[in-house]
């Protein structure tokens, strides 16, 4: 159980990577942008991959009537997400310590994982809502209006995950370093659960065996 608790603590601490590395990365390439434009979505705000990418993305988007990319203080998420992450790290570390001291058992580790997964899914859902709004809530005075084959106005929502062609742009959207660290951290808490389960489980099976032979 001690080993499991240490793995739990390490797993929870991996989430701190989100403060150093971006969570998500969206790249936009086109023939006239041989060096693609890109944005890194951090839990604290959005940054350009290169210094002036955000300005240049906004410059392009104004033709199709998209809003400018929000600043950190324009979205509540960038205030709440860091607090949630810090909270989950503290909770995870606390559970690890309590496990180490033998105050709680391994099932709490899985509980943390489930809670984190629910929060993560909620985060992704929120992120997707924002992308949808960003890509489809267009200025009615936009100078370029593209109509889909079915007659509906084209939206410019980047994919939540993966690749999509938007007009002349190749758009890719993939988790970035911070997210990978988070996934690793979450996986470690599952490992912590399994290790904890196994150590207690083998202990009990040993006892069972003893019982059977006595």
């Amino acid at each position: 159980m001690k080993r499991a608790s240490i793995i739990m603590i390490v797993g929870a601490l991996c989430l701190l990577g989100l403060f150093a590395f971006p969570l998500w990365n969206i790249m936009l390439g086109a023939p006239q942008y041989p060096d693609p434009l890109g944005m890194n979505i951090h839990i604290t705000g959005i940054q350009g991959v290169s210094e002036f990418d955000l300005q240049n993305i906004d410059g392009l988007n104004h033709y199709i009537g998209m809003k400018t990319i929000p600043k950190a203080d324009e979205m509540w998420e960038f205030n709440v997400f860091p607090i949630v992450i810090i909270g989950m790290v503290l909770l995870g570390v606390l559970l690890g310590i309590l496990g180490y001291l033998g105050k709680i058992d391994y099932r709490y580790f899985l509980g943390w994982f489930l809670l984190m997964s629910i929060l993560g899914i909620m985060g992704m859902y929120d992120f997707n809502l924002w992308l949808t709004d960003y890509g489809s809530n267009l200025d009615p005075h936009a100078i370029i209006k593209v109509i889909n084959e079915d007659g509906t106005p084209m939206t410019y929502k980047p994919p939540l995950f993966g690749y999509k062609k938007l007009l002349n742009f190749d758009v890719s959207s993939i988790p970035a370093t911070g997210a990978w660290l988070m996934f690793v951290g979450m996986a470690l808490t599952v490992v912590a659960f399994l290790v904890g389960w196994k150590s207690t489980g083998s202990h009990s099976s040993h006892q069972n065996h003893k019982l059977a032979t006595s």
């Binding site: 060096d35 210094e51 002036f52 300005q55 240049n56 410059g59 033709y63 100078i143 370029i144």
Partner: protein, 653 residues
Amino acid sequence: MKKYSLYLVAILGSVLFLSGCGDQNGKASSNGALASNNAEKVYVAPGEHDEFYAFMSGGYSGNVAVYGLPSGRMFKEIPVFSQFPTNGYGYSEETKPMLETSFGFIPADDSHHPDISQTNGELDGRWLFINGNNTPRIARIDLKTFETAEIIEVPNSAGNHSSSYITENSEYVVAGTRFSVPIPQRDMPIKDYKGNFKGALSFISVEPETGSMDIKFQLIMPGFNYDLSHPGRGKSHGWFFFTTYNTEEANSLLEVNASQNDKDFIAAVNWKKIEEYVENGGGTMVPANYTHNVYSDETHSATSTMKKEVLTVDPTKVPGAIFFMPTPKSPHGVDVNPTGDYIVGNGKLSADLTVFSFDKMIAAIDGKKFDGEAYGLPILKFEDVLAGQVKSGGLGPLHTEFDGQGNAYTTFFISSEVVKWKVGTWEVIDRKPTFYSVGHCMIPGGNSRKPFGKYLVSMNKITKDRYLPTGPELEHSAQLYDISGDKMELIYDFPTHGEPHYAAAIPASILAPKSQKIYKLAENEHPFATKNVSDARIVHDGNEVHVYMAMIRSHFTPDNIEGIKVGDKVYFHITNHEQDFDVPHGFMMIGQKNSGLLIMPGQTKTSVWEPKQEGVWPFYCTDFCSALHQEMQGYVRVSPAKSNIDLSWSLGE
């Protein structure tokens, strides 16, 4: 096709050329498999980049043109000593000071010899220097931005031809005078030239961090013509070599009178010794009048200051610093090989090349073996300093470059060819014709300790049948030779702009990563910049109107201006708010008398417009910038001089 050179040869009655080159056939190599092989060698596929940047002087265009090698594609023309309507250089208020001289505003010159800055004798790709030949000037081009960053005028000089070569750590760029003149200039009979005219060799220091130039000293030499120069390198670092002609000091019909002496001189100048002399307080500060023009990437503006004195050095006051080496038949080019051991003097009226040994020169100096003196300066004995002669069989040798593998390549103007020979044995290895009348040749890094001996470019004066006729004048022709094998291979020719005298080239791998893509708007310190769109405004000051304008795809802020009156002088100070590579915007205004502007991302430029007629007059962006480029426009309403319409401006109202 051969008729022209044969004709010249016939006139000169040269048997040498006929026997040496009679079997040349320039078009032989353009047949069959060889030709397609050559096509592959120069082909740079779409999207791929050239291996070298070549900077070719534009001669009477006053500019520098940048070409890719091996493709021969022209990338860019850099305005230096001339106005350039393409982007407003020399027309915009910010760049007009670059062309100020002590003679006033001079928007033309004759640019000759570019040279790239060096560190430890190797190209470092920081700056390119080039001389203005006519109104003596030296310019420094910043190779981050490919813009002219500084121009210094050279007083006491005339025909700034033996320039602008640099020493191996870019300590100095030299500006040697071709014409000797009275120093200081004064009213005197021309026939009294001899003994009274002087030749100034100026050593311009280059500040190691910024590149900033300053004339450290001028050597006031005897009244010869100082034709070309080259720095020593390696062991001969610290010396500079200048060819002379007209050691006769004739002042009329020089084609005859300056060709009487069998030998003129190469002047060997120990600049380190003179530097030491100057640093110990030597030399005489004399009154002078010359401009120093500096462009700033922060203010996007140039300033011109007038300098009032210059330090001159009488060479006879610095014993052991200057020696003359007699060199046959009016030497033109003087070139030092990469190791610095040999100095090649090319007598342009001779068939042979004269090669001096630096070691022998030092030994002769140490042994004080002099053959008289000229104006108090010792003349070395020809035989004492001679390393060897290249019996070339060509006629009219001009310039020599080196490949870094112990071979030299000399151009021959009269016999129109490049001759490859071996340094040390002086034997001729190969020769190839040029089309036609070649001046300089250039090997990338050829003026350094580390030549990149893969290509040679010959710069030809006459083009004749090489290209489709386009009227009586054709652009000059450059020819590209593959020199990687034993034999030179002519693989390509391409037209050049103006009259390319000389060129300097550097691997793209050194320059391309340093290239600046935009100017940061946040770092724009132009006094009239509009860094925030909300600061766009118009200020009236007497009859001067200052329009603070911003531009971004695809509009100007403001785009409607009223309250301008006939007789006003309207300054459009326009700031480009783009921060994206290669997205300049242009500005032209109906009736604008100077030039349009091309404004780089993050940059501010100013154009003056003086309305003479009432009306509503449009302006627009000239550089196709987006799908809505045509919509990037605006109007200025011009009212009668006495009207009381208030100044107003708007966008989107």
